[in-house]
């Protein structure tokens, strides 16, 4: 779980520059309805996450991720698989 916490913090730090409306972040915050990101923002943000953790999040996988918590879980899984 300590690892999860570190990934959570790193992820939140990556979200901040794109969080224009300063929406408070919880595991349930949705990218589309909570943060109100459009597809271009998503693209830039995913690239930032991939570069930070040195992982690939395919578009297929992205389609299944709706919330910050789900993203953190995916990142953790991909980091552990490396």
């Amino acid at each position: 779980m300590t690892e999860n916490k570190a990934i959570w913090q790193q992820t939140v730090a990556l979200i901040e520059p794109f969080n224009k409306k300063a929406v408070p972040l919880t595991a349930e915050t949705s990218f589309a309805t909570g943060l109100e990101w459009d597809s271009l923002t998503v693209m830039d943000f995913v690239a930032a996450v991939e570069d930070e953790f040195d992982i690939s999040i395919s578009m297929n996988l992205q389609a299944e991720i709706e919330t910050v918590g789900q993203l953190v879980a995916v990142i953790e899984k991909l980091v552990n698989e490396k």
Binding site: L40, A47, D54, S56, S58, M59, N60
Partner: protein
């Protein structure tokens, strides 16, 4: 219980359209060409208009040899094939058209599809399967995105035209997995070309196969008009070249050419090739005639480039914001700050006798509003002068340019 109206998801779009048309004026997405006089002139609402948004780059639509070939095939082979390429829908004309493509590209194999859209759907979804990867540019054409959705491969996107980003993303993928990198010679929204030499070297370093869509490059890039890859000295290095007959060739249809030794098997497994009717005989006959003429169309290529450079420098001098620093292709995109100005400008141009394409998000990158101009080798010097004068007038009338 209230059942959801299936159309409610379109409400936002309907609202945007309403707002767009509320100021009066013409709807940019329902223009009707009442008569077409030539590759560069048509009648719209009873008035002659110069066409500057057709992708009819080489002006082949009214070429007398092309029309004669189509008329002959229509009479001899009928109006349509009523069948799939793999059943009763392959006529002599389809084979002749594939031969013309092989000669044009100097490649071993050619497959003709019913549209370029279907060529991308078919090639991408069939080549890369489950557990394999398709790596695409973020600004890829809709047909490339849809090809990805139709297949079962994992899809990875890289930043538009960034070789470094492509390299980083390929490096993260499993070494032994099959990979297909999809590129476009010309990106049709802004008319910018891809740094193909760098991209191809990177794809090869990671053992990926390369598909290059030359929809907007065929006809006038490279000594033989093969596309941007030829211009950049990459002949023989692209595994699959996809193209369309709906732009420089001047009719409709799509194709893929390749030297891959197993290429022919695709005819049996590529669903958008198998499960649709083949092109009518007259269409493949016009395509063949046009492709054979394009091979030798050096004078036309030169005039098209001259037109493109003149339009670009003229618009730039007037103060318009353009998609590229210089004229990189035959597409010149004028960038406008918002929908209102873009629509006002578009309507004004049409009133003054000039048709261009209006492009808006989500088709455009970075949410831009664009007036996309595409030149034709048949635009005369006088027509380009007139086009520039119309742009100046409309720019001033709408306040896009300082009066």
């Amino acid at each position: 219980m209230q059942v959801t109206d299936l159309f409610s998801k379109f409400d936002p779009l309907i609202a945007i359209r309403k707002e767009m048309l509320s100021h009066g004026g013409r709807d940019p997405f329902s223009v009707v060409m009442e008569k077409v006089l030539s590759p560069t002139k048509a009648i719209i609402k009873g008035k002659p208009v110069i066409l500057l948004g057709t992708y009819n780059y080489m002006g082949m639509t009214f070429d007398p040899d092309v029309i004669a070939a189509g008329e002959k095939a229509l009479k001899e082979f009928g109006a349509g094939t009523t069948g799939s390429r793999v059943l009763n829908g392959t006529y002599q004309g389809h084979k002749a058209c594939e031969e013309a493509l092989k000669d044009y590209y100097g490649m071993e194999h050619a497959m003709v599809f019913s549209t370029g859209y279907q060529a991308n759907l078919g090639m991408i979804s069939t080549l890369a399967g489950k557990g394999e990867y398709v790596i695409i540019d973020a600004d890829s054409h809709a047909s490339i995105y849809d090809g990805c959705r139709l297949g079962n491969a994992e899809i990875i996107r890289f930043r538009h035209n960034s070789p470094e980003d492509l390299d980083r993303r390929l490096a993260r993928l499993p070494k032994d997995a099959g990979k297909l990198v999809v590129l476009e010679g010309v990106y049709s929204m802004l008319g910018d070309i891809a740094p193909l030499a760098e991209m191809v070297a990177i794809a090869k370093k990671h053992d990926a196969l390369i598909l290059d869509d030359e929809a907007h490059g065929m006809g006038f890039f490279g000594k033989n008009g093969r596309g941007v890859f030829e211009e950049l000295g990459l002949d023989g290095q692209i595994d699959f070249i996809v193209g369309t007959f709906s732009k420089s060739v001047g009719t409709v249809g799509g194709f893929c050419v390749s030297n891959h030794p197993q290429f022919e098997v695709l005819r049996l497994v590529c669903r958008p090739y198998v499960f649709t009717a083949s092109l009518p005989p007259s269409v493949v006959a016009t395509a063949e005639a046009s492709i054979r003429k394009l091979q030798k169309a050096n004078d036309k290529r030169e005039h098209l480039w001259k037109n493109s450079r003149r339009l670009h420098s003229g618009l730039k001098e007037m103060g318009f914001t353009l998609g590229t620093e210089t004229a990189q292709s035959a597409i010149i995109a004028v960038i406008l700050p918002d929908q209102e100005q873009a629509v006002a400008m578009w309507q004004n141009l049409l009133e003054l006798g000039l048709y261009v394409n209006l492009a808006r998000p989500p088709a455009t990158p970075a949410g831009m509003f664009l007036l996309r101009c595409s030149l034709c080798a048949e635009h005369s010097d006088d027509e380009v002068t007139e086009i520039l004068a119309i742009f100046k007038k409309a720019g001033q009338a709408t306040g896009v340019l300082a009066a």
